[in-house]
């Protein structure tokens, strides 16, 4: 199977869906002439022209709204945010327009739109540029939220997102665009709402998604050497969350760690823990432990940033804690 980058996987999804459906267009900052701030849209302007690959001024609120308006009357916009930090400015349109139009209109106006871009921290970008908005977006009824952790899932989920008749949020990662993985040449989609067991194991479940799937697998590899068999459940979609997959895994392992990039308070992990305690209370051999960013804005200094982020030692410690193996 061909091995390509996460970036090229997204690019291929965009290209294929734009070829397939001429209502699909891409809009955002630097997507056209500059070929994308992170080169995800490379070559698309040349192939599809400037009506379908549209550079905007720096006006997130404005162009998110332009996307919603166009979707109301039949187009299928893909709105790229240079990063989700800047999309905060557009949240009014995402939340107050895209997410509730169908409901407010009594079912008359559905909004087939994709809002996508890198989310979470990269390296030393400091407080305003290193934020994971997963739980903010997943909080909103009327939105679907996906967060692929591999090139394969990135391509398949973006294709599903574009074909979905609802607003879909796609959370990517600056650090992930160069990551490589197997992606078949043949057409496929990854369904929204389906988790994937990225590693099977029967001692402890790690529930994670997006960028941290790779970390989850590193933890599993490391602990395998000590004879600990970790199961890695990649949610892939945060909302609607594949509760069954999580619960099935916990019923098997009886132990669970939830690993996420964002802050603890009201985080996605809190929701996962709730689903686990509701229906798997009697299956648990230990309280669920969460691994997440320190409860502070992201600092610039290298040592502080490292200290703030979830990492291998912290996650291993969490697994050992739920297995009563620590210290």
């Amino acid at each position: 199977m061909p091995v390509i980058t996460y970036r090229d996987a997204l690019n291929a999804a965009l290209r294929e869906e734009m070829q397939r459906d001429d209502r699909v267009f891409l809009m955002g900052e630097e997507v056209a002439v500059y070929q994308g701030a992170y080169k995800v849209s490379k070559g698309l302007l040349q192939e599809f022209g400037e009506m379908r690959v549209v550079d905007t001024p720096i006006t997130e609120l404005g162009f998110a709204g332009v996307g919603v308006g166009a979707a109301m009357v039949g187009l299928r916009p893909v709105i790229e945010f240079m990063t989700w930090n800047f999309a905060l400015l557009a949240l009014d349109q995402v939340v107050n327009a895209a997410a509730k139009m169908l409901y407010m209109s009594g079912g008359q106006y559905h909004i087939p739109i994709v809002f996508r871009g890198p989310n979470g921290a990269a390296l030393q970008l400091s407080a305003q540029h290193s934020q994971a908005w997963d739980s903010w977006l997943a909080h909103i009824p009327g939105l679907k939220v996906v967060s692929p952790g591999t090139p394969y899932d990135a391509k398949g989920l973006l294709k599903s997102a574009i074909r979905d008749d609802n607003p879909v949020i796609m959370l990517e990662g600056e650090m992930m665009y160069n990551w490589k993985g197997e992606v078949p040449d043949e057409e496929y989609v990854v369904p929204i709402g389906k988790a994937d067991i990225k590693r099977e194991g029967d001692h402890c479940t790690i529930v994670t998604y997006g960028k941290l799937v790779t970390l989850g697998l590193q933890v599993a590899d490391t602990l395998a050497k000590e004879g600990i068999r970790v199961e890695v459940v990649d949610l892939r979609t945060i909302r609607p969350l594949d509760v069954e997959a999580v619960q099935a895994s916990v019923r098997k392992t009886n132990r669970c760690v939830v690993l996420e990039e964002g802050w603890e308070f009201c985080g996605v992990g809190a929701q996962v823990v709730d689903y686990v305690q509701r229906d798997c209370f009697d299956d648990l051999d230990a309280p669920v432990v969460r691994v997440h960013q320190a409860d502070v804005p992201m600092p610039y200094a290298k040592n502080l940033e490292k200290h703030a982020k979830p990492d291998l030692p912290k996650t291993i410690a969490a697994v050992k804690k739920v297995m009563y193996l620590e210290g």
Partner: protein, 339 residues
């Protein structure tokens, strides 16, 4: 509101720069230039991380504007803030230590390149969200007027900012409430890879001031003396009439958007870059001064040696400064309420 009325003549006369001031300004611009050349080096060595946006080519804008201010005035700006921080008087040591992510940095290593802050010089920060700091400047202007002071707030921004909603909302309030804020648009012609013409419906962007009934002007940003003259008028209006001004200062960045971007390529040609580099703001001032017999090549070399030493000292200081203590990760999230 009672207000001290400065004499308009003395205020304006400040724009006519004397020889000693010219020399100070030349030195400041050269210091910024040498400082940032070393930043590029430090970035390549991994001493500086994250995003790092250099000011090289634009020094006359910040230096001209800031050199006209009083210590009790306020400055707020974008992520492209190293030069302005130094022009405002933050020590190169504290700036370099911040860029190195060290505990003696002007934001204790928490902010980094895009977020230089200094309470001592009323430097209200470099801000990373395009347009986000413009309403803050309007708020500072509001506070000045509220207290009946005659300070001003200068708000620097790139030309792309005029297309954001925050800009429009903030300038409308400043025009409506007559607040002493000088909005300085550093028009370097590009926002990342997008030219002004491809992003703004009007191209003489100072004309946007008309929408807010705001006095406005356009200045040559490569000539620091012209910047000072234009600023004098705006300052006078702010201090004596509490009126905002929109200044478009036309300049050019000689480097890429940030250290991770190409200097030229898809969005601007090498030929265009070379043409603009002919009007290096430091050379332009040096020529003025040569014509007035105030400096020659030897004099220039002396200043250059001096500032290079100062930059080396800043580097050594930053390198010697300890990394922030790990406990400091949890400090500064909330302040203890004392009242």
């Amino acid at each position: 509101m009672a207000k001290k009325k400065p004499d308009p003549k003395t205020e304006l006369a400040l724009g006519d720069t004397d020889a000693a001031t010219r020399r100070t300004i030349l030195r400041s611009m050269l210091l910024q230039r040498r400082f940032e050349e070393r930043c590029a080096e430090a970035y390549a060595l991994g001493r500086i991380g994250g995003f790092c946006h250099l000011y090289i080519g634009q020094e006359a804008t910040g230096t001209g504007v800031i050199s006209m201010l009083r210590p009790d005035d306020y400055v707020i700006t974008t992520y492209r803030d190293h030069g302005q921080a130094i022009a405002r008087g933050i020590s190169p040591r504290a700036v370099m230590a911040e860029l190195f992510g060290r505990s003696d940095g002007c934001a204790r290593g928490k902010g980094g390149s895009m977020h230089l802050f200094d309470r001592n010089t009323n430097f209200l920060g470099g801000h990373g969200i395009v347009g986000g700091h413009v309403p803050l400047a309007t708020g500072v202007g509001f506070a000045i007027k509220y207290r009946g002071g005659d300070q001003v707030c200068v708000c620097f921004m790139g030309e792309s900012v005029v297309n954001t909603g925050a800009f429009h909302e903030a300038l409308n309030m400043a025009g409506l409430w007559k607040l002493p804020v000088i909005y300085v648009i550093e028009n370097n012609r590009y926002g990342m890879g997008t030219s002004l013409e491809r992003a703004s419906a009007i191209h003489d962007i100072y004309q946007r001031g008309a929408a807010y009934d705001m006095p406005r002007g356009v200045l040559d940003g490569q000539d620091v003396l012209a910047v000072r003259t234009g600023m004098a008028e705006a300052l006078h209006r702010a201090r004596t009439e509490s009126m905002p001004t929109l200044l478009e200062i036309r300049t050019y960045r000689f480097m890429g958007h940030s250290m991770s971007d190409a200097v030229s390529g898809t969005y601007r040609t090498k030929a265009e870059l070379d043409e603009y580099m002919q009007r290096d703001p430091i050379t332009v001032l040096k020529l003025h001064m040569e014509a007035a017999g105030e400096i020659d090549d030897a004099g220039m070399a002396t200043i250059d040696d001096e500032v290079k030493l100062e930059v080396q000292d800043a580097w050594d200081f930053a390198e010697a400064s300890p990394e922030p203590a790990l406990e400091s990760l949890y400090e500064d999230v909330l302040v203890e309420t004392t009242t």
